[in-house]
Amino acid sequence: GQAGPSASVPAETGPAESAVPSTTPEAAVESLRAGMVGDESTLNPYTYVTGFPGWNLLMLQYDSLLQFDVNGEPQPWLASGYEVSADGLTYTVTLVDGVTWNDGTPFTADDVKFTVDYFQANTQSRFTRDLSGVASVTVDAPNKVTITLTSPNPSFPIRALADVPIIPKHIWESVTTPAEATFDSPTNVGTGPYKLVEYVADQSYRFVANETYFRGAPAVKELVLVQYADEAGIVAALRTGDVQAGFRSISPEQVEALAAAPGIDVAQGPEFTTQMLYFDVTKAPFDQLAVRQAISLAIDRQDMVNTVYLGKGTVGNSGWTHPSSPFFNAAVATTTDVARANALLDEAGLTDSNGDGIREFDGNPMSFELLAPSDNPLRLRLAELSREMLAQIGIDAVVTSIERDTLVNRVWPDFDVSKGRDYEMSIFGWSAPVQVDPAQITALVASDPAVGSINIAGFKNAEADRLSGEILVEGDPTRRKDLLGQLQALVADQVPFVMLLYPDGNYAYNADAYDGWAFIAGQGVVNKLSFLQPDSRP
């Protein structure tokens, strides 16, 4: 699934092209009902379920030290500012004054130190990971903390300061097993713009506005989230007026139909999730560069965007990075050329010697199993289209639809790339954070499992390893961008995987009911900015 973004996009990239008109609501909306899919449990840092929208909803009640603006750049929030030491190891953070928890207790630097210590002591996969590089936190003053890292980490503000919710010491210090503690209205305490007042499992959440929010009272006084079994449920409810917004990206085929419905608008924008075609490059014939390049050339990415996503997506760049990313290397070209692909294969001696339309390698037909997750219709369709396109270059892809978890287990056994892999080809993709933090490209290609933790293709390239090492420690933004550009070019040339496309986010809502949505690139409209008065937004 998707995960909440924890990285920034540069200022020059606008949010969504079809930017939501930012009106200034004169009076706050009394109540808004939105549809969602799947239960997110009691919505505290240890119990929320998914990265999206779980984390996004969690952050309605909690705040982090930094907050993304609509352009996706981290801005001061609970922290009024921070300074980084020259060696990149020490962050000195100043806090905003006068913030209180929604139970009335004042927010102090102790809460920040407590939060870091607590997440380090009690594993919460995302936040513990974010904070794993922190050596120590010291409280310098009630509004000042110093955070010391073990090694320089240029991504620290994006991945930790703007991502980790600050939790109240006075509540959590007595909690020993956070994942099993029962959280309810009195214990669900945060500094955020909303307070969760009612949770009916599998049915609904009710948030009420925190009228004394330090950035000003929210524009929507009551927010009700209604759970539906699937997207269709939300769409039906939007049409019948049961809800006024959908907290889930609508699939492409519904966009036009919904946009045409009276009163309903659709906010569209880039989301940084990816759809990719993977192969096991440790196995013949995918270990041959010509084969990989031919496959990349054979795939008509535009056709996929048009057919499967009905145009609601961005064509994949062969260098992997989204064109909207500030680190995008515009020099990396993506081409479709079936003739050249065939020529490449012919040159490599992989010809169709028996005339059955399928090429052979080492006497074996180039026929491979192409895995696609059975619960993801769009990926299944991408697999079908891939089969069709590969057939043109004499490669026979047999599409096998298998259980998502089975697929993951074969492609990525035990989530540990050092354990090898058991597949030939697969449609796969990553959640938004992987794309948002530009440094994550190293995780895709580095051969050292500690760095290339999601290198599920088994790609191994000395140049890629070298570039990766440098990117991870380079503090200088320009130099870093240059290194990232080099790595993208290398990926485009070596084809460790085929980047197919980036789907768009499409959020339907009833504009008559509420129109103040803020679309954060890579994150969509489900965020606290959407509910703050425009002047309260960063």
Partner: protein, 308 residues
Amino acid sequence: MTAGGVSLPELPEPAVRLESTPIGAPAAARGRLTIDGTTVIGLVGVVLVGGLILTAILAPFLAPYDPRERVGIPFQRPSALYPLGTNDIGQDLLSELIYGARVSLTVGIVAATVALIIGTTVGVLAGFYRRIVGSVLMRFVDILLIIPFLPLLIVLAAYLGRSLLNTILIIGVLIWAATARVIRSQVLSLTQRDYIRAARALGASDARIIGRHILPRVLLLGISQFVQATSGAILLEASLSFLGLGDPLQKSWGSILYWAQVRGAFLTDAWLWWVLPPGLLIGAAALGFALMGFALEQRINPQLRSGR
């Protein structure tokens, strides 16, 4: 739920007798109308099933396009070119529907065959070797019948993965229990028949008695069970496919509905040409087999024919 398909109820120990009514003894009273009605019902079933089987066989000649080929732009409304419009990636829906008959009917018939084979074997063994083998087998059948069916199906489908073969096997393996029960009770009563005793007295071996006297007798009953199981299996395949537990890449009626569901067709006008036809066809196929099964059962079970 669609669990057993047509649930012709199983009454405690169904008294199924196959003997032709002895000459001279008053035959079970039969209403003329009932007989005619049963025949009509059976014929309707035969026509439905026959029509669909013919469609499946002649699919390449009947379908305007190759259902795997993208022949138009996605989500088209019906037109002269595409009588039922196109699906989400531009394949012709009518062609999918016609080819879908192949998968749906195959799954139904083969799964029912699997069930028939297992059910008959278990039923005959349990009925013939009543004591130890029989009670062990029947306890097993009891358990199979008690375990919540759909959940088990879902878990098995998830475990075994998606392929046509697996779908067939899962359905077949789960629906034989009912057949086994019916067959067993028939065998139990058969083994009490005098002609079995006579064969024993002649020195016939068990194998001979089963092969020559028992199996032919349960065959008709087995066929009626088979026909009804087919109806159930077709519905199960559709349900599994719809829940995404079948193979969505197989062009079956159930998977057409799956795609209609996941691509939101029933929220738009498309339900008329994308949702309605496959559902009706599933219904028609299940109905055809159910009607045939019903008519067969009426013929076999004299209790049903009586009543004055």
